[in-house]
Subunit: 161 residues, 2 copies
């Protein structure tokens, strides 16, 4: 195993671990709990679920894996704050979309060759990438794992003590 | 820049970004705010500060960088839950220890050679490392960044909206 492959495994392991932890948490929460705020005056569970789904969905075009599956989530769950949009999709539908987009990502990750992880992601200009080769596809996964960890820490508060 | 060096930079960038975000947050919080629970019935700011400090301090021996600077923090902030120990150190002291341990880590990281990041960390047995070469020093930094991101998401709730 080359050092590149070792590191790719490290980054993907961290990604899968956090997706699994989030799924385990969601599996123990009712739809009613998902409608609660994670802390007083803060985002609700349903908003954070839609938010992480929309952000993961956006990874598809960033990684050159096609169009987002659910572009309609970006407005209500990324561009707008919670409790400003009144007609959100039901929790069950968001949960299905969350599962589908992560399954698609996992499937695509398996097919990536070592070299492909070091290609530029689609939000960097080629001329910038020459100077900043760390802005590659693997970095998207690394940073989105931290993004998920941040919100997972918050979502845990929905669980009864 | 080799692929190994690009990836090491990615992991260290994510580490430094999250330490900085945490510092920026702490700079905007009063000692009184740090004594509050981040959400009703959950950990207080002071506990999470002591917790991330103790966990970062423990990285020193894991990375072969010497003994922890503040081993006395491990008991009250890792082995015991919040609000079970009545005499915690003052916030100002913990804040200083948080800064000191991160400065020491940052300093040591700068001195690491590429190869050193791929050496086994000190909680893995040599025979296990042969089969699991991803359990290296860089992986400690990657995973502790996720750990910090998780708690940073919670600490943000101490800020007034």
């Amino acid at each position: 195993m080359t050092k590149e492959d070792i590191i790719i495994k490290m980054v993907l392991d961290a990604w899968h671990t956090h997706v699994k932890r989030t799924n385990d948490l969601f599996n123990g929460l009712s739809d009613e709990q998902m409608m609660q705020e994670v802390a007083p005056g803060r985002n609700r569970g349903i908003y954070l679920l839609g938010h992480i789904t929309a952000i993961h969905d956006k990874m598809l075009p960033l990684l050159g894996l096609g169009e987002p599956l659910y572009p309609e989530l970006y407005g209500p769950f990324v561009e707008n704050a919670d409790k400003t949009i009144s007609d959100l999709p039901p929790v069950a539908q968001l949960m299905e979309q969350w599962t589908t987009v992560n399954a698609k990502l996992a499937d695509c990750f398996t097919g990536f060759k070592t070299e492909e992880w070091f290609e530029k992601h689609n939000a960097v200009k080629p001329e910038d990438f020459d100077k900043e080769p760390h802005r590659n596809k693997l970095n998207i996964v690394l940073n989105r794992t931290n993004h998920l960890a941040d919100h997972l820490g918050q979502l845990k508060f929905l669980k009864k003590k």
